[in-house]
Symmetry: C2
Subunit: 346 residues, 2 copies
């Protein structure tokens, strides 16, 4: 009989938490016991998993006793409050927040890109930012064959990136606008329905927002390329779920479109979607609920002899968050990496 594991989901009632539950069931993750944790506000909800009704418990210092794997998606402050406690209790803490991503003792893992980094964990493994994951799954296979020198990215990010309530807010705003009323903004600073705006995370002194700097710094860490040149413009668009990205790549040596397509058609986690006659390329509605990052419009950059352009869409909640976290858990199980050699000093 194969081994099974005690799993805790921290932030079980959020958009990513809900998806984590679906994925554990759908992918037949060997769950021996499932503990659902959330803030006291959300505790008490009953969630069905594999035919069983499981109550959501308020998270506490003792929530991680006997837990092997924590899948955390309750925000940075909750992760900071509980990660070391979970690790001290013997669990591996797979964290979807940005709290530990850039910590030198915490591997930042996209299983299709740097699975080897997971082996170095000291109890905490970070799940990268959604836009980073989607870009990395598409770009890394090319980078392995022909090193990328510079990336210029522009994102088209759905409401789901701000959680389940943000998705409801956009729908309510659209309803209001269609009825001739003023849209109400609570989660987002400005109306998003029938509008768009630069990503509303704090800006640094250079005028880049946090979301953009995540794409820059996390990609460098995941690729283990601290010198990789990256710039990004991150924009929220009135799409419910699945992010899109326009990616301009400059290579050290030229890589042909045919080679790039061949590489991407074989790449794990990627699906090439291109029907030129039908003008059919990746779209958020097609990426939603799917595991793969859809990539298309792979073309020679006509402005640069060593450039390629590509366009991608990926499910922000799934591969951009929950699926990547479950894949990390699967990797730990498959490679027998649950026991850290030492505990991270975060």
């Amino acid at each position: 009989m194969s081994k099974s594991y005690s799993v805790a989901i921290l932030g079980a009632t959020g958009a990513v938490g809900t998806e984590l539950l679906s994925l554990l069931e759908e992918r037949h993750f060997p769950v021996a016991q499932l503990r659902l944790l959330a803030s006291p506000r959300s505790a008490g909800t009953i969630v069905t998993f594999a035919g069983e009704n499981i109550p959501v418990e308020p998270v506490s210092d003792r929530s991680f006793d006997d837990i092997d794997i924590v899948l955390a998606s309750a925000g940075g402050s909750t992760s900071k409050a509980y990660a070391t406690k979970a690790v001290a209790a013997g669990a591996v803490f797979i964290d979807n927040s940005s709290a530990f991503r850039m910590h030198p003792d915490v591997p930042l893992v996209v299983p299709e890109v740097n699975p080897q980094a997971a082996a170095t964990h000291k109890g905490i493994i970070a799940n990268p930012n959604c836009t980073t994951i989607l870009m990395n799954v598409a770009v890394y296979p090319l980078h392995q064959v022909s090193p990328v020198k510079r990336i210029v990215a522009a994102t088209y990010q759905s409401a789901s990136g701000a959680g389940a309530r943000a998705m409801e807010e956009v729908k309510a705003q659209a309803q209001a606008i269609l009825a001739g009323n003023t849209p109400i903004t609570e989660i987002f600073p400005y109306p998003l329905a029938f509008n768009l705006f630069p990503h509303n995370t704090p800006l640094n002194d250079q005028g880049y927002c946090e979301e953009e700097m995540k794409m820059v710094n996390e990609t460098r860490k995941i690729f283990a390329e601290p010198q990789l040149q990256i710039t990004a413009t991150c924009v929220r668009v009135p799409v419910l779920r699945a992010h899109s990205e326009a990616i301009n790549l400059e290579f050290e040596q030229s890589l042909s479109v045919a080679e790039a397509k061949e590489i991407l058609s074989q790449a794990p986690g990627v699906r090439v979607v291109e029907d030129f006659a039908a003008n059919y390329f990746p779209m958020p509605i097609d990426a939603s609920g799917r595991d793969e990052v859809l990539v298309g419009r792979i073309r020679q950059d006509i402005s640069h002899p060593r450039g390629l352009e590509l366009w991608l869409c990926g499910d922000q909640i799934r591969k951009g968050a929950a699926l990547n976290a479950v894949q990390i858990a699967e990797l730990l199980v498959a490679k027998n990496l649950l026991q850290p050699s030492e505990v991270a000093a975060v």
Copy 2:
């Protein structure tokens, strides 16, 4: 008493035609007589202009008798059918379609950028594509001070770019989706509400769509820089009106953010919109109905020592189409350029 002119609007009932009428009135264009022309399908509609009810007439070969200026926005095939007839009848034909934009005998004019080109007209003057106009208004002032070598653009284009019916389609789709029904697509090939897709114009052998090649070729012609390196990814987003663009610029010599902001704050047709504390930058809802191109997020490209990033929004119907055409008419009147020296051989 100052001179006034007989003006015909070809395509008077479309989204751009309606805006042309508003702008002629709002800007006190010296209209002696106004003739409203449309396809037989749309003829018969009564339109109010300056307090007068004017019937929309079906366009015919004799529609341009006694007309000084035609403002055409009825599509390329209609422009091709009537432009030379209007010119033969003594009118200047200001064309919003793409029919003649790249013709060597037809100047392609953005009044803030290349007003001098209007003086070379031979009866027909082309109004550039919306995305081109918006980008050029923002980029040319920088290019004049510090030559731009390469542009990497990603667009976020509203439904208005496909006309008034497309705007209605997006609203109807949103209504259907919110009610749990399947959205109907008639104008667009795929649902646009709560979704987005690469611009649905035909693709060339290199995989670039027509909209992208307009940005490339038209900008080169307007800037009179045939070697300027440009690449673009054009995307339709579920915004009703006003396009947005993420623009990455590489200069021959570095240009500082402070210099760029100073140049843009003085540039005609540009309004710098940047409030870092409030995370407030150009948005389509703020650009809609406004004349200026809103520019913000002007920042040093952290991936390139001679690069700048910027973000813009502009009203696609107004500066992206109707306003630019009316400005061309104003330029012809102000510079006494209505009479061509010779007639274009298009």
